[in-house]
């Protein structure tokens, strides 16, 4: 049987007041926390930072500059994607094996921006993703890649983990970064 349950509180108004005061105090404290201007900028929830971030983003001259204020690697890869022909074939090196897992974040960004161009990372066919690392065979030489008909080489983590290096293998893979 369905029935409407009459909602009744036991008649002691102080308890309702207590609940109200606690929740209101919690809400007020959260608002004060959000006004804290000392929290780190980019990922902060502070209203102070949000208010300062909007004009900076809106003033960015283009999407690459806007990306630079979000994920800088994204800005680089967006520029590459804009300049590289869609038929270009790309290879990423330095991504195979459990030790290279730390560099996969940058590969994901590159793959995102360069799609629908395939970004191969293994010379023996598609690499296989395991949880946090890739299984496959990395390149042995630039000549090997040229023989496979690839146009651009991306070197992940050549100098440090966050670094991406670029080497054109053919005229199709050649481009200039803007200043």
């Amino acid at each position: 049987m369905k029935k409407k349950v009459p909602l009744q509180s036991r008649s002691r108004p102080w308890t309702e007041w207590t609940a109200l005061v606690l929740i209101t105090a919690f809400a007020g404290w959260l608002v004060l926390q959000s006004l804290d201007g000392t929290a780190p900028d980019k990922n902060s929830y502070s209203l102070w930072h949000l208010a300062h971030r909007i004009p900076r983003l809106a003033a960015a001259p283009d999407l690459i500059a806007r990306d630079d204020l979000c994920i800088p690697t994204s800005a680089i890869m967006r520029e590459v994607a804009q300049k590289l022909p869609t038929s270009a074939r790309v290879f990423g090196t330095g991504l195979i094996g459990p030790d290279a897992g730390i560099r996969l974040g940058n590969y994901f960004i590159a793959q995102y921006h360069l799609f629908p161009r395939p970004v191969q990372i293994s010379t023996d066919g598609p690499a296989i993703y395991h949880d946090g690392w890739m299984e496959g065979v990395d390149m042995t030489s630039v000549e090997q890649l040229k023989a496979l008909g690839l146009d651009l080489l991306l070197g992940f983590g050549q100098w440090d983990q966050d670094d991406i290096g670029f080497l054109d293998l053919t005229a199709k893979g050649r481009f200039e970064f803007r200043e």
Partner: protein, 493 residues
């Protein structure tokens, strides 16, 4: 201009969803509820319908994004005109009262939403996960359909993108791209932004705030809006806010239904909200599983499973999830962690040994900060506390700021003060705790060895944030609905 159009798409899709809900459950039944709640239900249904049609197009080999986005815009615009004609005269006739001053208590929420809303139309993707999974899948669905789409989700290199996951979020982003005619990620955040707006509006609506403005509903929406993770995950995109939206909407609807079983249409709307949970993320599906078990017990006991709105809701939910079922039948390659159950069953004894530690770490981090609740894993997998007293900050977790403490106080307090709502609140608490335990079990299956540091990260905290918001809001539903004893009621009249 395209930012403006993108910003209008979610509310207009919500208006289309509101009409669909009226067709399914009857206009009179729905009009008994406030506009905010109907808007949230409409957004849930609209998102489910349009996103899953995008998925259907991708599977069938057609890019439907543009046609669906413009349909939603046109349909929503017509609905706006029709509804404004009925709604506006009543608003104009409303006379100002002293109680309306409580609207001022919403000013911080208004400021936060204004800033987040503006940011939602200019800021790019901030998080690696969002870009690698959700935004990537949206780009693929916009650019590739049919056999080409199939080739992408069959590529072992790309399984990192969780292709076997539900596709509501990528479907919504793809709708935006259909509107723009190109892949343009800088307006993706309008969806999570409007989901937060809708949940806040639903809470105010449950409390009938526009008719009886008072402090409690304003304080509740301020808490939901200002919990750090709310703004954080709107900006980070991904499926955390969509999961929060659907989980909280389901909790809200379930509470209203369990408190007032006469309103049968709420059962159907609950099933649609739960379908939204399934279509969003794995944690949402777990929540549905636990809700399903709890509701089955209620429905079998009182014979409610025979109610027509339940069948209508179930039929609509199954229909909306059909495109995802089709997609799964095409066999997308699974992410390595998708076999969590098989991994766990390789050594079930070890999983059971790890489970209490995982539960302790998961729950503890909801109450304490990472400095105070710090643990080190020993050589044999045992945990040793290595935290430090951090003053009162020890009791403030970095991600949800005292929300767990609020729930801990509120649950027994409501149990004591609201005897007539005990069954509903008890069911909600069992469901939320049950879901948290289920998620902890999955984590215990996946972790070959406990890494205590992992539990302090926001990546784990985000699994629990939607449930905590749903639990907090759900517990407060009886307090918001019941106005007889709430302070300021006399002022409001």
């Amino acid at each position: 201009m395209r930012e403006l159009l993108a910003c209008l798409l979610p509310p207009l899709a919500a208006l289309a969803g509101m009409r669909l809900n009226e067709w399914l459950f009857g206009r009179a039944a729905l009009e008994a509820h406030g506009m905010g709640l109907r808007f949230a239900w409409g957004l849930g249904t609209g998102m489910l319908l349009f996103s899953q049609l995008v998925v259907f197009g991708a599977v069938a080999g057609v890019n439907l994004a543009a046609i669906l986005a413009w349909t939603a815009l046109a349909w929503g615009t017509v609905e706006t005109v029709l509804r404004l004609r009925a709604w506006w005269p009543a608003r104009v006739a409303c006379r100002p009262r002293a109680a309306h001053l409580w609207w001022l208590a919403l000013l911080p929420v208004g400021a936060a939403l204004l800033l987040t809303g503006l940011l939602a139309t200019v800021e790019g993707t901030l998080e690696y996960d969002a870009l690698a999974f959700w935004v990537f899948k949206a780009k693929v669905m916009f650019l590739k359909q049919g056999a080409e789409f199939y080739a992408v989700h069959q590529n072992p290199l790309l399984t990192y993108a969780h292709w076997d996951y539900p596709l509501l979020v990528p479907g919504l982003y793809t709708l935006n791209y259909g509107l723009h005619g190109e892949v343009f990620e800088f307006t993706n955040k309008v969806w999570p932004f409007w989901m937060v707006v809708a949940i806040l509006a639903a809470i105010l609506s449950v409390a009938q705030f526009s008719r009886r403005p008072r402090l409690l509903p304003a304080a509740v929406v301020t808490v939901v809006c200002f919990v750090p993770f709310t703004t954080y995950w709107v900006r980070m995109e991904g499926a955390t806010i969509p999961t929060m939206f659907h989980t909280t909407l389901a909790a809200l609807t379930a509470m209203l239904w369990l408190l007032d079983r006469v309103q049968r249409h709420l059962g159907g709307l609950l099933l649609l909200a739960l379908a939204g949970c399934v279509a969003t993320k794995f944690e949402g599906a777990v929540n549905v599983l636990v809700w399903g078990a709890a509701l089955a017990a209620v429905l079998v006991r009182d014979g409610g499973w025979r109610e027509r709105p339940l069948h209508v809701g179930l039929g609509a939910a199954v229909l909306c999830l059909f495109p995802y079922a089709l997609f799964r039948l095409s066999g997308p390659l699974p992410h390595p962690v998708s076999n969590w159950f098989e991994l766990g069953m390789e050594s079930p004894g070890a999983v059971l040994l790890r489970l209490p530690m995982v539960v302790l770490l998961n729950l503890g981090h909801r109450f304490f900060n990472a400095t105070g609740f710090k643990w080190t894993t020993g050589a044999n997998g045992e945990l040793a506390w290595s935290g430090e007293w951090d003053g009162l900050n020890t009791f403030v977790d970095e991600h949800t700021h005292l929300l767990a403490w609020a729930i801990l106080i509120l649950a027994p307090f409501s149990w004591w003060r609201l005897p007539s709502a005990r069954a509903a609140q008890g069911t909600l608490s069992v469901v939320c705790l049950g879901t948290m335990l289920f998620i902890s079990f999955v984590i215990a299956c996946l972790m070959a060895a406990i890494d205590a540091n992992e539990f302090a990260t926001l990546m784990v905290a985000r699994y629990f944030y939607p449930l905590m918001i749903a639990w907090f809001v759900g517990l407060l539903v009886p307090w918001l609905v019941m106005d007889e004893r709430l302070p300021f009621r006399e002022d409001a009249r």
